[in-house]
Amino acid sequence: MTYIAGIFILAGVFFFLAATVGFLRFPDLYTRMHATGKGDTLGLLLCIVGLALYNGCINQSWNGLVQGVKIISIAIFWFIASPTATHALLRAAFESGVKPWTKDGVVVIDKGEDGKET
């Protein structure tokens, strides 16, 4: 059981690593948030499930079960809140006119003065 918990935590750390690499390597705000928003959410979920399993291994009692439920509830709230925060940030960036990056520098989506997407 402890090994399963370790596998979960290692998988979570891998997703954190991938998210960080994406954050450092991607060219603009949208792609960076794409990497971190997804990678951090899944990485934290896997890490927390692993920690809950490990806690269940070493503390097999009613108190340990309550702690496990608390840990899982952190994951649930994070799963609700983190993508929403990413969405809010990107929406605010798009509303204030940050242009998405393209390979040849041509603006594909532009929010003009009249508020219409072209």
């Binding site: 709230f77 929403t84 969405h87 929406r91």
Partner: protein
């Protein structure tokens, strides 16, 4: 400066998260004696729930839930509770904030009196911190006007 953007996702999630945050802040306050937490942290989370309302909806929504008069009253009420928790032991021959002297008023002996004393203190801190945090947020985002700032004119900010 303020754009009225109707965003269903943010509003729905804010509507879900605000009660959870408030219950969690009470949990942090109540559970503060055996785990990290206490009045200050609980008050900050409670204030964050109102700030989330103001950010996700608008300032009027937050002010409708927590009136400005209530903020002023809560600021003073928290300090009042804290101060009188400390002053009451003086009447029974103790020092300031000597919780054990609360056993003259409350049942349960000196040990429980210390427990009650800590709970009162933390309650005062929670209320005061919550009100002051929301008040500071209102002052900062509206440049002291307590109304939604829509833009800038020659004199400075103008509001609705």
């Amino acid at each position: 400066m303020v754009r009225d953007v109707e965003d269903v996702i943010i509003k729905t999630i804010a509507r879900i998260m605000v009660p959870i945050m408030q219950v969690y802040s009470l949990y942090v306050y109540v559970h503060g004696h055996i785990s990290p937490g206490g009045g200050f942290q609980g008050g900050c989370i409670m204030a964050a729930s109102f700030i989330l309302l103001a950010v996700a909806f608008n300032l009027g929504e937050a002010k409708r839930r927590l009136k400005e008069k209530a903020i002023a009253v809560f600021c003073s009420l928290g300090v009042f509770i804290y101060a009188w928790t400390g002053v009451v032991p003086l009447f029974f021959g103790g020092n300031f904030l000597d919780y054990s002297k609360w056993s003259h008023i409350l049942p349960g002996g000196e040990v429980m009196a210390r427990y009650y004393g800590m709970a009162f203190i933390e309650l005062g801190v929670q209320i005061a911190v919550m009100a002051v945090m929301v008040s500071i947020f209102l002052d900062l985002v509206t440049a002291g006007r307590h109304e939604e700032v829509l833009g800038k004119d020659d004199d400075g900010f103008y509001s609705r």
